[in-house]
Structure formats: C-alpha cells, structure tokens
C-alpha cells in the first residue's frame, strides 16, 4: 500500500477517471473498485474520500443522485460536463507529470 501523501495528490484524478468511465458510483463502490483494480495497492480512506467528493460536488464537477436502498439512502456520484473536461485535463496533466518524474528520478523503463 502506498503512503497517504502519494494518494492525496492524485485522489481527485482517480475519482474523476473512475466516474468518467462508468455511469455512476457510490462511495463504497469507489473504494472497492480502486482496491480491486490496483490489487489492493491503493486503498482510499473514507476520511479523505468523502470530504473530496463533497468539495467536488460544490465545485460543480460532480453531481449526485439519491436512491433508496432498503432502509437507507445511497448517494450516487457522476461527472458533469465540466467534470469530464476536468477529468481529461487532470489525466493528461498526470501523464505528463509521470514522464517528468521518470526523467527526474532517472527511472529507466524496463524493456520487456
């Protein structure tokens, strides 16, 4: 598992990418999906996930849908048009960042 500092800077990008690729997701589903995709290497903490989700909703990047599930309510998140734009920007910015880091830290990509 990676340190929380590393994850903190990329949390928004991860959420946006996941939500852009699917129709809508709820909080628990997001954490499970990330865990599953990364083989448990990245585990989002609830303490970081929900404040970020709420902030992104307030910024108009995400929108919510409320669904009744048994005896409780579930909030589904999906990206807005603005969110899709932001997702693209964030992902390409991050890709660029990785290239720079590889160069900066002198990491030779392994040739297969």
């Amino acid at each position: 598992m990676y340190s929380s500092e590393l994850i903190k800077g990329t949390l928004k990008t991860i959420i946006l990418k996941l939500l852009s690729d699917s129709d809508k997701m709820y909080g628990y589903e997001i954490t499970q999906k990330v865990k599953e995709l990364t083989g448990g290497k990245i585990q989002l903490t609830e303490g970081a996930l929900y404040p970020t989700l709420h902030a992104m909703e307030a910024q108009g990047i995400l929108t919510t849908d409320v669904v009744n599930v048994g005896n409780r309510i579930r909030k589904y998140y999906s990206v807005t048009d603005l969110g899709k734009k932001t997702a693209n920007e964030k992902v390409s910015e991050y890709a660029d960042f990785i290239d720079t880091m590889i160069f900066l830290l002198d990491l030779k990509p392994k040739v297969g």
Partner: protein, 408 residues
C-alpha cells in the same frame, strides 16, 4: 452477495451514533451511513457480532475522532470560496477608499456627483467590505470570544459608516445611529477586547495601548456629536424663519389697507401693480410647491416640520439646475418677472422705489463682484432645502415691501 441485511433499528443506531460523533452535514451523514452499512453487511454473519463489528469498522474512518471527516469537509468547502472572498474584499475596500477620497473632494468643492460617490463608497464598505472581512477573519481565529470581538468591531464599523452617510445626507435618524455606533464601541467592543487581551501576557502590553487609543479616538468622535445642530441653534433659526413669515403677513395686510385708502385717480395703476405683484408671488409660491412635492417624495413635508427640516442640498439642486449647473426655467422665469415688475415700478412710480428689487442688470445688488456668481447660484445652487425656502420667502417679503412703498 450480501449475506446479512441490517435492520432499521441498527441503521438508526448507526445514524444517531455518527451524528453524536460530530457529523453535522446531512449529506455527509447519509454517505457515511451507507458506507458503514456496506462494510458491516459484508463482514457480519450473525446478529450477535453487530456491536463489535460496528466498532471495528468505524475505527477505520478516522485517526482520533470521527469529527475529522466533518472538519476536513468544511475546510475543503470553505477553502473554495476563501480566495474569491478575499479578492472581493480587497477590491471593494480599494474601491471604497478611492470613492471616499474623490467623493470628499467633490463634496468640499460642491461639484455634482459627490453625494452619489459617497453613498456608493459607504454602501460598499458597510455591505460588502466589512461583512466579508468579518467572515474571512472569523475563519482565522479559533476562540469564540475572539469571534465575538470581531463581530462587535464589524457591527460598530457598519453602524458608524452608515451613520456618517445619514449625517452628510441630512437624513432623519442620523444622530441615533451615530450614538448607537459609539455605544457598541464603548460598551461592547472595547470592554470585551480589553479584558480578553489583558489576560494573555503576550498581548497585555499591546492591548492596553490599543485600548487607550480606541478610547481617545472614540472620545474625539463623541465630542463631534456636539457639532451637529444643537437645539439652541435650531430654535434660533426656526424662530427667525417664523419671524420672516410673520413679516410677510403683516406687510401684506398693511398693503391691503393702503390699497383701500388710495386715491381713486390712482386705482388704475395700483390695480396693475397689485396684479403684477401677485403674479410674481404666485410664481415663487409655485416653485416652492413643486420643489416641496419633488423633495417630499417618500417623506412628508408640512408647513410645521418645514422649518426644522434638514434636507441636503443635493436634491433641490437637482430640481432647480440641470447637469451643466445651468438653472432650469423655474428660476429664469422668476428673474425675468422681477425685472418686469421693476421696470413697471420705475416707469409708473419713479425710480428709487424699487431698490429692493435691483434687477436692472441681472440683480446687481446680490450679484456683486466679490462673489463672482449669479443670483440663481448664490441663493439656490447647492443650498440646503430650508435655506432655499427662506430665500424664496425673503424674496416675497422684498416684493411686498416694494409694493407697499409704491402704493399711494
């Protein structure tokens, strides 16, 4: 996949528990509730484990307290507006400072537009700058007491600037606002500021010094209160105005008696004199009446409260003058009528009788070289309403007296 489904009672229990632990936002409560329920349902196999599993699940959500999630959310949400707010605060503050300075210069020079600038400046200070200042600053301080101090300080600032606006516009209630502002300063802000600051050894010295400065500044402001219209001055001015009105009535009665006693042979020219005089006075009264209606818009003006009425110079000036400081037809009509009357008197009753109406070269008496101004400007431009009424009534008295001197 879910082996177990939580009962309504258990869901309620969890909701109440996270509420108790400091999650206030409803949206956040719902999110956390669902998340916790998902986790529990996944891990639970029998009814008996609920409490234990709930505790263990909940503990994964925070480092020390569950409240952290609420605090982090609040921080992220306010942080978004924080910079925008600071920007608006700085801009409105700058705008106000510039508008104040320019407005003050305009006001002193009696240029048009001064009132509007001052009103805008004060509105932006009281309703934009100070409230945002309060919001931004309260975010930065932790203690409740300090927030109160900031609140009272802001409240004083708003009251104070609005009361200044009321003062310079001569709106009713100015003095009450002014004293309320000073009251907040002396009895709420200052004691709280002083007693909070003095307890902390680090801020003690500064607090004492600042408190003394605030006390001095507040005292000086309090002294200024006396500058504004003491009762004696108001009464003196009121009685002199009443005296003026009484003189007009007296002279009118005397003139009527004189008309009756005049020789029959002169009745013809006396009739013309009377008609011309009455025409002129009617014109003057008409201006008074129209002005009254214009100014009185939203404020009741009666003969009774007229004398003590403090209406700034801005509104009457707008009524009597155009944007280029040129008098509108109202005054020009009166001026030419005065000239007309004077010419008639000079021809019919001989020169010397019309000295009070010395209008032959555009009211020479009052448009003297020293003032380098015109009759309209001296008596009506940027002149407060009560003085305009007084000037108009003085003119009526002059006309009546001239009339009286002529009747034979």
């Amino acid at each position: 996949m879910n082996l177990y489904v939580l009962s309504e009672k258990q869901v309620d229990f969890i909701l109440n528990d996270i509420r108790r632990n400091g999650i206030q936002t409803e949206e956040l409560q719902l999110n956390l509730l669902d998340h916790i329920c998902c986790l529990i349902e996944k891990e639970m196999s029998s009814e008996n484990d609920f409490d234990e599993i709930y505790r263990s699940v909940l503990s994964r959500f925070f480092k020390k307290e569950l409240k952290e999630i609420q605090e982090e959310t609040d921080l992220l949400l306010t942080f978004k507006n924080y910079y925008a707010m600071k920007k608006v605060m700085l801009r409105s503050g700058m705008f106000s400072a510039v508008a104040f300075t320019i407005g003050a210069i305009f006001k002193i020079m009696h240029w048009p537009g001064a009132a509007m600038m001052v009103v805008l400046a004060i509105a932006s200070v009281s309703f934009v700058f100070l409230p945002i200042f309060f919001l931004v600053k309260t975010k930065e301080v932790k203690e409740k007491k300090e927030k109160f101090i900031l609140g009272f300080g802001t409240f004083f600032g708003v009251l104070f600037s609005i009361s200044i606006l009321f003062k310079i516009m001569h709106w009713p209630g100015a003095n009450m606002l002014w004293l309320m502002g000073l009251g907040v300063l002396f009895f709420l802000f200052l004691p709280m500021y002083f007693f909070t600051g003095i307890r902390n050894p680090e801020t003690k010295q500064n607090t004492i010094l600042s408190s003394i400065m605030i006390l001095i500044a507040g005292g000086l402001l309090f002294i200024i209160t006396a500058l504004y219209g003491t009762k004696d001055v108001e009464n003196a001015s009121k009685s002199s105005y009443l005296h003026l009105k009484e003189s007009v009535t007296c002279i009118s009665e005397l003139n009527d008696m004189k008309y009756e006693m005049a020789a029959d042979s002169l009745k013809g020219q006396n009739e013309i004199l009377k008609e011309k005089t009455n025409n002129l006075i009617e014109k003057i009264s008409k201006v008074r009446k129209d002005l009254n209606e214009y100014v009185g818009n939203g404020q009741k003006i009666t003969e009774e409260n007229l004398n003590g009425l403090k209406v700034g110079a801005g509104v009457p000036t707008m009524f009597l003058f155009d944007d280029n400081q040129k008098p509108k037809p109202y005054l020009a009509a009166i001026k030419s009528e005065i000239k007309n009357l004077k010419n008639f008197i000079d021809l019919t009753y001989g020169t010397g009788k019309s000295k009070l109406l010395n209008t032959s070269d555009g009211l020479k008496v009052i448009e003297n070289e020293e003032l380098k101004s015109t009759w309209e400007k001296i008596y009506f431009y940027q002149v407060p309403l009560d003085y305009i009424y007084r000037n108009l009534d003085q003119l009526i008295l002059d006309i009546k007296m001239t009339e009286g001197a002529c009747i034979k």
